[in-house]
């Protein structure tokens, strides 16, 4: 070969090589290793060439030709772990990517149900709008919570019956402040409507098991509500309905922060007339709320709150009930470092209640609470540490018939502290470990300790298995505690196992749980009281919420078996709060400019102690009741159907919302309890106050 030919061939081969280098490709498909869904991930070669895969996960990328026939590439998509591989040129690649584990704070490890539109927290949710759109919920966060799994309450009373627990086993918190009387109407038998105005509620959660150690003095559950915070633009709304007036305003204050406030006033007169109710009922409510948010500097914020709720109900001249709930609070939040923040809250609440039945009985009671708490969080990505302390001083007074001889007073101070660490043990296992200690000055037995643990295991990105176990203490009625300083707080041990499937279109939860009560208060001889009571609540729950563009379906079923030996029942008998089966189904049509919803709820009746007969007592010259076995009979099953709807339209360049609701459409006469006359000769059925009623109104939001 001549020298010239050699160079020619060398040149040709070089060109050929260059050509081959440019013509070399790698191609393949990228997918989620778990779901097999295609991923539009990015492929980067070691020399900096890159390309994104298409919507089907397919990619094709020019690469330099290597003698080895292989090239190093990195594949990445946000939210997934980066993968480095050596790819063989010419072969079609199949590349599965694994999800990047979520930071500890982003997973709800406990079996809580929260109200949020953030699916990323991977828990069963309702969003804020659903509080308005759930039929029969009266736009009340407490009523809306009745459709969450684990809440066994029938929709007549506001109070939450959580997994067989008594109504007073639930703690209610508002911006971290414990509210001892969260109901507008707190009657002897039921409590109606909450004092929390949904217009100013930012979000809330209902914890039914495995709840956080920052919550103390609750055996069965916690409802935690937070009010709207920093508002950056003026907003508000004005509503007028046959129930009265609703108004809300929030606006920024230049250079200071913002203000959020609401004012509501309710009258029953129009409602009574429209629904042709007989009798002279008078129903009045008034709610005022205000919250100033002051930004001291970038890392310090001050909040000042005020809340007032007034309520009066009267039936002609036969009786009247009036209550006032007021709250004043100050809270300071400081970001001590980029990932550490603390909030100090101090508050005073007062609750006054008067029940007056002329010429029969008059009860006046007052509950004053001073409380302070410090809550701190330390976010370490893999760990989310929370710790804090709280102290609460409470004074209770009750006076019967305006007589100082019938006056009852007690006061006590409760203190507690807690620590909780939520951390990621592996990519799929998130664990919560915490403990709470608390003590009450009325008791001589020192501190109680509540260790609590829960775990969430991500079977897949959409399927989560949760297990929680914890020990909970509650001090109970201070008047009872004052009778025996040797009493110990009531306690319950919870174990719950849940399976959640959380997708964009569906929330599903199935749960099994067991709650074992210990040291419940049990009356002894001679008006003594001890800790001999026991009990249990065991059950199962199923919840599903399916969302579509045009409709939404919600279905919840709760099964409960519960027995208690408590108070004046010396044997293990069915729990008075045992609603063995409850079912709620809701269908909501999403219209172009509104919604239409229908809800049906049914529940088995609660147990009650039957009256077997009456017998004449010659000593008192009157009849005495002969009661059957404790809680051995049941009230009739409960059922109720509700409808509601809303329609948006424009008027004078403003959006106006028309809304309506029909409660108890079929006018079922649900029995809430039986009452007997003085001589026990006849039984009177006390029906639910929720007969068929129509509500209509208009709401004008301001943005």
């Amino acid at each position: 070969m001549s020298r010239a030919n050699f160079f020619f061939l060398f040149f040709i081969s070089l060109i050929g090589g260059l050509h081959a280098q440019e013509a070399a490709w790698i191609e393949g498909r990228i997918f989620d290793k778990e779901t097999k869904d295609p991923l539009p991930a990015y492929v980067l070669t070691e020399d900096g060439r890159g390309s994104s895969a298409d919507a089907n996960g397919r990619f094709k990328l020019a690469v330099p030709l290597r003698p080895s026939g292989k090239v190093k590439i990195s594949i990445w998509l946000i939210g997934y772990k980066k993968k480095d591989i050596e790819a063989e040129i010419g072969k079609s690649l199949e590349i599965g990517l694994e999800l990047e584990p979520l930071p500890a704070r982003e997973i709800m490890v406990t079996a809580d149900s929260i109200v949020s539109d953030e699916k990323s927290r991977k828990t069963v949710t309702l969003n804020k709008m659903e509080v308005y759109t759930i039929p029969g919920a009266a736009a009340d966060p407490l009523y809306a919570s009745h459709v969450l799994p684990g809440v066994n309450s029938p929709p007549d009373a506001s109070s939450l019956l959580i997994r067989g627990g008594a109504p007073d086993e639930v703690a209610y918190l508002f911006d971290g402040i414990e509210i001892r009387h969260p109901f507008l109407s707190e009657a002897l038998h039921e409590s109606y409507f909450s004092i929390f105005d949904n217009q100013i509620v930012e979000n809330f959660s209902v914890a039914t098991s495995g709840f956080h150690p920052k919550y103390g003095d609750a055996l069965s559950g916690v409802m935690d509500i937070s009010a709207k915070d920093l508002v950056t633009k003026s907003e508000g709304g004005l509503g007028l309905s046959i129930m009265g007036l609703n108004s809300y305003a929030g606006f920024p204050i230049r250079g200071v922060g913002s203000f959020v406030g609401s004012y509501n006033r309710g009258y029953s007169d129009l409602l009574t007339k429209l629904n042709s109710r007989g009798g002279e009922h008078e129903f009045r409510t008034e709610q005022i709320f205000g919250k100033f948010h002051v930004r001291i500097d970038k890392s310090n914020q001050l909040r000042v709150y005020g809340l007032y709720d007034g309520y009066r109900y009267a039936e002609g001249s036969s009786f009247s009930v009036a209550s006032k709930n007021s709250l004043g609070a100050l809270s300071w939040t400081s970001s001590l470092a980029k990932n550490i923040a603390a909030t100090l809250t101090a508050s005073a609440t007062r609750y006054d209640m008067t029940f007056d039945q002329p010429e029969s009985i008059r009860v006046e009671s007052r509950d004053d609470v001073l409380q302070s708490r410090l809550d701190a969080v330390w976010d370490l990505d893999r760990h989310f540490l929370e710790f804090g302390a709280d102290i609460q001083s409470r004074r209770l007074e009750t006076e019967l018939d305006g007589s100082s001889t019938n006056e009852y007073r007690t006061r006590a101070t409760r203190s507690g502290f807690y620590v909780n660490d939520k951390f990621r043990l592996s990519d799929r296992l998130y664990v919560n470990l915490g403990c709470r200690a608390q003590a009450l000055s009325l008791l001589d037995r020192g501190w109680s300790f509540d260790p609590r643990a829960s775990a969430a295991f991500l079977l897949t990105q959409r399927d989560i298995l949760r297990l929680s176990a914890g020990w909970y203490h509650q001090f109970g009625d201070y008047f009872v505690l004052a009778r025996n300083r040797d009493l110990r707080p009531k306690s319950a041990v919870h174990i719950a196992l849940s399976y959640d499937r959380i997708t964009e279109a569906m929330d599903l939860r199935a749960t099994l749980y067991d709650k074992e009560y210990r040291r419940l208060f049990l009356d002894g001889a001679d008006e003594t009281v001890g800790n001999g009571g026991t009990g249990y609540a065991r059950g199962a729950e199923f919840f599903v919420k399916k969302k579509d563009k045009k409709y939404e379906i919600l279905f919840v079923y709760n099964f409960l078996h519960s027995k208690r030996k408590e108070n004046d029942v010396p044997v293990l008998a069915p729990s008075p709060w045992e609603i063995a089966h409850s079912v709620t189904g809701i269908f909501t049509w999403k219209l172009k400019r509104g919604s239409l919803g229908i809800r049906y709820s049914t529940a088995s009746g609660r147990p009650f102690t039957p009256l077997l007969e009456r017998e004449w007592d010659s000593l008192s010259q009157g009849y005495l009741p002969v009661w059957g076995a404790p809680f051995s009979d049941r009230y009739p099953a409960y059922q109720r159907m509700d409808l509601n709807g809303s329609l948006q339209f424009d008027m004078f360049k403003r959006m106006v919302i028309f809304f309506f609701g029909i409660t108890n459409v079929l006018n079922n006469g649900n029995i809430s309890r039986y009452e007997y006359g003085n001589d026990f000769s006849g039984r009177k059925d006390q029906q639910s106050i929720f007969g068929r009623s129509l509500f209509v109104g208009l709401y004008v939001p301001f943005f």
Partner: protein, 268 residues
Amino acid sequence: MMMRRWALSLFLLATVLWLPAAAVSGAQTLNDPAVLKSFQEAKTKWQAGVNAWNRDLFKEARDLFLGCLMRTKPENVYLEYYVALADLQLASYAIATEDMAECERAALEGQQYLEKAMALDPGFAEAEAVYGYLIGLQLAVHPEQAMILGLKSRQHLERALAAEPDNPRIQFLKGFYQLYVPEAFGGGPDSALPFFEKAIALFEKENIIDPLKPSWGKDTALTNAALIYKEKKNEAKAIELLKKALAANPDYGQAKSELAALEKKAPL
């Protein structure tokens, strides 16, 4: 005594289980010349995409930004921001071509990059503004979630605005958001115009030297303000603003075509 034992065991447990916190990102610069070159190419492509309203150029720019991001350690919040900015354009383009699946993908993916950027630098208000805008774009895909998405979008934009009221791009994004909010909800051209005008005034004062820092938007703010004046039949003002837009960016296609149409209609 029992209390002390409990506290000690908890402390020990915590010590065993904690891992060191992730290091916070360092200074935001691009030290690798190859990455810097690639970044500049990406910015040029992105601008060319805006000028010609071309999906492929946005996609190419996005790929280049992504490549830079993958090659940069520690994570660079500006690169995350630019990937999301390209996603914003891709989502907008997808709405115009009624490709709702692509719109959702781009909007959601862009949000994820910005979430990372905001977690690394909570004071990065401009990232929050783009984040709010991307949530707003999802409204085109999920009109049934108007109340929730609208509220969230507005909250982020307002928060960004409160944090950096003198940032022209945040003013512009807020104006653009207002433009597409129905009048019954307080939006519309009249409510958008003050934001565009504020943005234009702020752009006049802005002088960004660092190539990594966002500097886009003057041409689009002027053009959008011009379109509102055109709607209001103030064509002279519209022409004046379009000429300013072309002075800022002579290749901006939309300004060119709008100016040509207006001048044809009313030759000066």
